[in-house]
């Protein structure tokens, strides 16, 4: 499948992955440190295990950034 992750198109040798599987595939090993937008909608964390990503989907990984001082 071809999907768009953070604005860049990627080909992944699978027909479908859950968000959690995609995070693992992208080597994000602490999913609690990222928020996910799936096709323009912010995804509830409880759906990371079940939401399937398939061909043509757009996914954004948004990272916590807490500095400022």
């Amino acid at each position: 499948m071809k999907i768009t992750i953070n604005g860049e198109e990627e080909t992944i040798e699978k027909d479908s992955l859950t968000i959690i599987e995609l995070l693992t595939h992208k080597k994000v090993d602490m999913p609690e440190m990222v928020s996910v937008e799936y096709n323009g909608e912010m995804l509830d964390r409880e759906k990371f295990d079940t939401q399937a990503v398939t061909d043509g989907d757009k996914v954004e990984f948004l990272y916590f950034m807490g500095g400022g001082q």
Partner: protein, 268 residues
């Protein structure tokens, strides 16, 4: 209010702008902005808002100026070491622009004082360095129906968004605090000083745009940049129906102080 001759000259480069003009400058002179934290983000924001003539600047910070602050917190100078940051900032603001009234609050922004402090201001700038404060500012501003600018920096990266009442909030993206055991400390992470300046000045520009009522604010958009590559990127997002504070059935109905010794998290 009418501008006197000195003010017309001082603000002439604003007044020349079609989208500001005399009426916009008058709005700026009548505006009240609260800056939470006078550090890496709050320092540049305060300098620009003071120079712009924002009538009242509230600054709240409980810290004193430390040697390690001077690399980026440009409102504090070397002779200010050990001085309360709000006092140091107040002195600089007075030197930049005597038109500005400063409310200096040497304290932490916490659940017990947040609503009382916020109520006097038109716009809030989050210049804090930790998630408990960032979530508290978001929740308090949503509850008090105050617009605010979120800012976060780390190493060479920055992110910012602007909330206005009724539109998406910070929790619509980041639903709750990250687990504290996943969070490295500020001193471990590091920050290129100029990047804090880039973000703080974006926040100041958002405040000024809100005050004059022109342009498009960073609402429902998260602007991110990687200054190492000098690339900017924007992600549009929507209000989340299940948002804990601004969603259809909010579960957060009162403010709370979260405990977490934090600064950042960003996985590379």
């Amino acid at each position: 209010m009418t501008l006197n001759d000195q003010q017309v000259e001082r603000y002439s480069r604003h007044i020349l702008l079609q989208d500001v003009g005399l009426s916009g400058q008058e709005k700026i002179l009548n505006a009240k902005v609260l800056i939470v934290g006078t550090g890496g983000l709050g320092a540049p924001a305060a300098l620009y808002l003071a120079a712009a003539g924002v009538g009242t600047l509230g600054i709240i910070d409980g810290d004193k100026v430390d040697m390690s602050n001077l690399q980026r917190q440009v409102i504090h100078f070397t002779p200010d070491l050990d001085k309360a940051k709000v006092q140091s900032a107040k002195e600089k603001i007075a030197l930049i622009n005597p038109d500005v009234k400063v409310n200096a609050i040497e304290d932490l922004f916490l659940a017990h004082n947040a609503m009382d402090i916020l109520k006097d201001y038109d716009f809030v700038i989050d210049g804090t360095d930790n998630f408990p404060a960032k979530f508290l500012i978001n929740d308090a501003c949503v509850m008090a129906k105050k617009p605010f600018s979120h800012g976060g920096v780390l190493r060479f990266d920055g992110q910012t968004m602007t909330h206005v009442p009724g539109e998406a909030c910070y929790r619509c993206i980041f639903d709750d605090l990250p687990p504290s055991n996943a969070v490295p400390s500020c001193s471990q992470a590091g920050i290129l000083g100029a990047i804090a300046g880039m973000l703080g000045t974006i926040q100041a520009a958002e405040a000024l745009k809100f005050i004059i009522g022109k342009g498009d604010l960073l609402t429902n958009r998260l602007q991110m940049f990687d200054a190492l590559k000098m690339k900017f990127r924007e992600v549009k997002f929507k209000k989340r129906a299940t948002c804990k504070v601004c969603g259809e059935n909010p579960v957060i109905t009162e403010l709370k102080d979260y405990e977490q010794p934090v600064c950042d998290i960003r996985q590379k």
